[in-house]
């Protein structure tokens, strides 16, 4: 019902172009209908998240017995769920504080490494002339379409068994235990991020004006100097968008973490723990709601405060193709 109103209102206006005062009023009405409908839909879109957020502050008994909308007739708030899910000692409680730290430890290097390496690669692929450069770029570009799933099984065996050809060990197993498993998660995330990261940065770096590079070269700057003092400052917005992308991707990832981080509280990130809680304690809504919000809150803050960069990256990354 709501969706048909703007169309009708729109027709009414367009049949008579708003040259007259009455037309202008109608146009304003039209934009008012559009505004109302857009806001209603936007709110509808937010209701599920809002319900979860509100529930996470309700006492356990209330969550389990009444809908969150009854809060407005019977308002009761508590931080007990958060206290329990973050710091609870029993194994059935979330212990999410541990996993939260794991998520941070996984995310920071997994964002830094691919961005730096991709920036170097993007510079070489755009401004250093060597044979086969274009083919190399096309190859890296094409790697974007290889699904992660294609690499998982062999990469895991690479870590756990090393590489041997015909009985000769070319590379020993990494044999990482406990906290060291972070290394293989960083490694995997870095590898998987590179094709898109190089592609996105190449879009920016190759657009830099040629005169700028020429001028620097005439002044005697080498490639390394040009990269550091000209290219890097100029592509900072692109680096920012890429950093946000990669941050959201790593923080929200489940698949890579499940396979490479293991499931213990030593290394597993929030997503792995939450998925576990949803599976084994599906009815414990006081933990699930607060736990889900703990995992959502950081990306939400990053996203809301840096949305501009995110959208810009999205537009250059997907539309220029």
């Amino acid at each position: 019902m709501t969706t048909t109103t703007p169309v009708l209102a729109g027709e009414a206006v367009e049949e008579q172009p708003p040259r007259t005062a009455a037309g202008r009023v109608r146009k304003r009405l039209n934009s008012r209908t559009a505004t109302t409908v857009s806001i209603v839909i936007a709110l509808l879109w937010t209701v599920p998240t809002f319900g979860l957020l509100l529930s996470s502050f309700r006492p356990e008994d209330d969550i389990k017995q009444t809908g969150w909308w009854t809060f407005f007739t019977n308002p009761q708030l508590t931080f007990e769920n958060y206290n329990e899910v973050l710091f609870g000692r029993s194994s059935s409680s979330g212990q999410l504080a541990q996993y939260f730290v794991n998520s941070i430890v996984i995310t920071i290097p997994s964002v830094l490494f691919p961005i730096a390496l991709a920036a170097l690669a993007a510079y070489a692929l755009s401004w250093i002339k060597f044979r086969g450069r274009d083919w190399l770029y096309i190859g890296i570009f094409a790697l974007q379409i290889v699904p992660l799933q294609m690499a998982l099984v062999p990469l895991l065996s690479f870590f756990s068994r090393g590489v041997s050809v015909g009985g000769v060990t070319l590379m020993p197993a990494w044999d990482l235990a406990d906290e060291q498993k972070f290394i293989q998660v960083w490694f995997a995330h870095t590898c998987f991020a590179l094709p898109f990261a190089i592609f996105l940065l190449h879009n920016f770096v190759s657009q830099l004006p040629n005169e700028l590079m020429e001028a620097a070269r005439v002044d005697g700057a080498g490639h390394s100097k040009i990269f550091r003092s000209i290219v890097l400052p100029l592509i900072t917005p692109a680096l920012a968008s890429l950093a946000i992308f990669q941050f959201l991707w790593v923080w929200n990832d489940l698949l890579v973490a499940l396979i490479f981080a293991g499931g213990t509280r030593d290394t597993a990130p929030l997503t792995v723990r939450l998925a576990e809680l949803a599976g084994t304690r599906g009815g414990e809504w006081q933990r699930l709601t607060s736990g889900a919000f703990v995992s959502i809150v950081v990306p939400l803050i990053v996203f809301l405060s840096l949305q501009r960069y995110f959208v810009r990256g999205l537009l250059t990354g997907s539309v220029k193709g």
Binding site: A42, F130, M150
Partner: protein
């Protein structure tokens, strides 16, 4: 929860950041120092040569003294990224193709029988039809909703806020979204309903339903979650495309007295066609690989399984490397025609 619990992790983080500084800093230093060194030697050699030419025939400048080719330097900038791509993506992908021709523990060559298995088992055929449903419905619905909203919000006030709200789910993990919607679909046998959907359903006079247990509707309810996430992406891209339509085209159409309906079909839609294709293709590829939503909400039970989850289960739960790899390759094969379609479109676009 004492500090000791965190200490080993935080020191790992410290090592990671130090490694980053050392690797990248070292690389930049190397790239700085080495070419400089060669340049200085070359200079010195040239000076020496010019001095010696005054009293004798010019000696040929030896090959070593020539300016080092840029190729070497290019490789040096690229080498870390290339190595990682090779170790982490290219070689594993080739290995996966080989593994898909072997049995579960990769000891015996079995030819294409793992691929035959995909199309024989009833369970797996169910997985395929579910995935097909996802791949058709998610791009269609997400792009449709995103487009409608982009057109509508273009004329609305509070545009930025409204867009942010639709866009917000993009920041939420699939696991988080799974929990949010599992809560919406929650079921209680007796008493008040706590799930929004069951509350609406019972208020309208229905019996409480275990929505996530009833095929085929449960797959549709999972698809809704993906649409909820992806519509924001479609909306942002399409909204930018709509704003980029030249104002004079819109103005000319308006002077010709077109109805909004014609305006949409004859002006807006053709103008944003390239963006539309990009959106559909991107969402389709993301949907093919959907894994977390299904795993969190139903774990593939009640006939909701999809290819990416089955691949994970085969390879990492049942240790069936052959069948898992075959499913991964199958997923890859499904992506290829979509990408070819997009490349063709891009090429046609450039010719115009």
């Amino acid at each position: 929860m004492e500090f000791e619990d965190f200490a080993p992790k935080l020191s790992m983080l410290l090592y990671g950041v130090i490694a980053f500084v050392v690797v990248i800093g070292g690389l930049l230093l190397l790239l700085d120092v080495v070419p400089n060194y060669f340049a200085r030697r070359r200079e010195a050699a040239l000076i020496a040569a010019s001095v010696s030419t005054s009293d004798g025939p010019a000696p040929p400048v030896s090959r070593r003294l020539r300016k080092p080719g840029e190729g070497l330097l290019g490789i040096a900038f690229l080498i870390p990224a290339l190595l990682l791509l090779l170790i982490g993506l290219v070689i594993p992908a080739i290995r996966t193709i080989i593994l898909s021709l072997f049995n579960g523990d990769s000891t015996e060559f079995v030819g294409l029988s793992n691929y035959g298995w995909i199309f024989q088992e009833n369970d797996i055929i169910r997985v395929l039809t579910n995935t097909l449903g996802w791949v058709i419905l998610v791009p269609l619905l997400a792009t449709g909703v995103g487009l409608l909203y982009a057109v509508m919000v273009d004329r609305a006030r509070f545009e930025a806020v409204a867009k942010s709200l639709i866009f917000l789910p993009m920041a939420i993990s699939f696991v988080g979204a799974g929990i949010i919607w599992k809560f919406v679909y929650a079921y209680r046998g007796e008493g008040d309903q706590i799930g929004l959907l069951n509350w609406l359903w019972t208020t309208l006079g229905g019996e409480p339903q275990q929505f996530l247990n009833n095929a085929p509707w449960n797959t549709f309810l999972l698809i809704v979650v993906m649409v909820w996430i992806q519509a924001g992406f479609a909306m942002v891209i399409l909204s930018a495309a709509i704003k980029a339509i030249p104002a004079d085209i819109v103005e000319a159409a308006r002077l010709d007295g077109v109805t909004p309906w014609q305006m949409f079909w004859r002006v807006t839609l053709p103008s944003i066609r390239p963006s539309l294709i990009v959106v559909v293709v991107t969402i389709t590829i993301a949907t093919l690989k959907v894994f977390d939503i299904v795993r969190t909400m139903t774990n593939g039970n009640f006939d909701t399984n999809v290819v990416a989850l089955e691949m994970y289960n085969q390879a990492f739960r049942y240790q069936e490397n052959g069948q898992g790899s075959a499913l991964a390759v199958f997923l890859f094969i499904l992506v290829i025609p979509i990408v070819i379609f997009q490349i063709r479109n891009l090429r046609r676009q450039r010719e115009v």
